[in-house]
């Protein structure tokens, strides 16, 4: 049966609309209680979930973020509705776990994923410019590996049960959040940890956060929205499709922030950010290269895991482990600057990425 492209979201207008919706939702979530210039940062919220589960004990970044749960479940619903749910896996899972770990460590040295690079820029945080340059540099190095034959190998079909593990895991996390809700003044509620101050204590109401996550997950699954892919495709193929979504997110969030009074240009005193420009650059370079080698930004990995892609699921679990490692071993930065072992982390992570990159060329 011959057919044309009929996915309206996979058009230039579609991806621009999706980027714009994410930008608007981010600004609105921030207005509704989420942390400033973070709003819907995938790495930060993954780190908060790791904290809520007690994988690290950084008291200021612990919250079971419903947005992340919604991303996977929204994508899962879209994939089911459009018959794109397809359990696959088996493409170098251990390498993907390590890439997820390293991506998270790099992101936490910068203090944000590519989504937050955009949202910090849209909030006026000049330090994010160095993160953006680092991200582009990391992805560019990734394209050099692709050109020299880098490939993590083919996936195979998996059982339906395997494909359902990530959506079910997210349902489980949602159940924990509902059964053990935050209690005022208590750092623990049942098995979950909750921040009493700091970014982890800033959150929008549960249903709002979950609804926003579900909606974005649905739209992103349809449009294939990916911030790393946006940069990669321009560098590698001069394809601007995903970049239009990236730019739409930036422009919309910027306009919304100006209207809502959330735009504060400058370098000093920016929310949950440090001013060590080189490490902002280097942290995001590490993360960008890890995302490129793994084939997607942290958001895209969540959306793919909702489609039944267990390789993306392994990356997500690796990033949760990375969040634990980053905070437990002093690799993560704070608003005062990089952690005590942040420099070593950048060097070691880069070395591991080079190892994975050079040893997987076919």
């Amino acid at each position: 049966m011959a057919r044309g492209v009929k996915n309206v979201f996979a058009t230039t207008a579609g991806i621009v609309a999706v980027g714009a919706v994410i930008g608007l939702v981010a600004a609105f979530l921030q207005k509704s209680g989420n942390p400033a210039n973070m709003a819907i940062c995938v790495a930060c919220f993954g780190r908060d979930i790791a904290g809520a589960l007690g994988l690290h004990r950084a008291a200021v970044v612990q919250y079971m973020r419903p947005e992340i749960i919604g991303f996977v479940l929204g994508s899962f619903v879209a994939a089911l509705a459009f018959k794109e749910f397809k359990p696959t896996g088996g493409s170098a899972p251990l390498a993907r776990f390590v890439l997820g770990m390293i991506a998270m460590i790099g992101a936490l040295i910068f203090l944000g994923c590519p989504w937050r690079v955009i949202l910090r820029l849209a909030g006026g945080d000049g330090n994010a410019l160095f993160g953006l340059v680092g991200l582009v540099t990391g992805v560019w190095i990734g394209t050099l590996f692709f050109k020299s034959g880098f490939n993590l190998g083919r996936t195979q079909a998996q059982s339906t049960g395997t494909g359902l593990i990530m959506p079910l895991l997210m349902l489980g996390l949602l159940a924990l959040r509902v059964v053990f809700p935050p209690v005022a003044g208590e750092a623990q509620s049942g098995v979950l940890w909750y921040s009493l101050k700091g970014p982890g204590a800033a959150y929008a109401p549960l249903l709002l956060s979950l609804g926003a996550g579900l909606g974005i997950g649905f739209l992103a699954q349809r449009s294939r929205f990916c911030t790393m892919g946006a940069i990669r495709d321009v560098l590698l193929f001069k394809q601007w499709y995903l970049m239009f979504g990236f730019l739409a997110l930036l422009v919309t969030a910027l306009i919304a922030n100006i209207i809502l009074g959330q735009f504060n240009p400058g370098f000093e005193g920016q929310p949950v950010a440090h001013t060590m420009w080189f490490w902002n650059f280097a942290g995001m370079l590490v993360a960008g290269l890890a995302f490129a080698l793994a084939g997607g930004c942290p958001g895209r990995q969540l959306f793919m895991s909702g489609e039944g892609n267990s390789d993306a699921g392994v990356f997500v679990l690796g990033s949760l482990a990375g969040a634990g490692i980053a905070h437990n071993f002093g690799l993560a930065s704070s608003p005062t600057g990089i952690g005590p072992h942040g420099v070593s982390a950048v060097v070691i992570c880069l070395a591991v990425l080079m190892f994975i990159g050079f040893t997987n060329r076919k």
Partner: protein, 72 residues
């Protein structure tokens, strides 16, 4: 003879890279690319069209797609 590219089991950017390589190597004619996910189908079609190739997509069994690229 039709140039064939098997990109099943691969996720982007590999299918697009392989299709682009085939388009560059052949210059014109017919190329058949088989992929097994929607995102790759869309990306390969988009890349081929941007290079001036026509694209016809056939649904195969098991969620696979055959993209027939042609340029005269």
């Amino acid at each position: 003879m039709k140039h064939k590219v098997d990109a099943r089991g691969l996720s982007c950017p590999q299918p697009v890279l392989m299709a682009m390589q085939a388009m560059r190597a052949n210059g014109s004619g017919e190329i058949e690319v088989v992929v097994d996910n929607e995102a790759s189908r869309e990306n390969v079609a988009r890349a081929a069209q941007s290079q001036g190739w026509s694209v016809v997509v056939d649904d195969l069994d098991g969620g696979e797609f055959r993209l027939s690229l042609a340029k005269s």
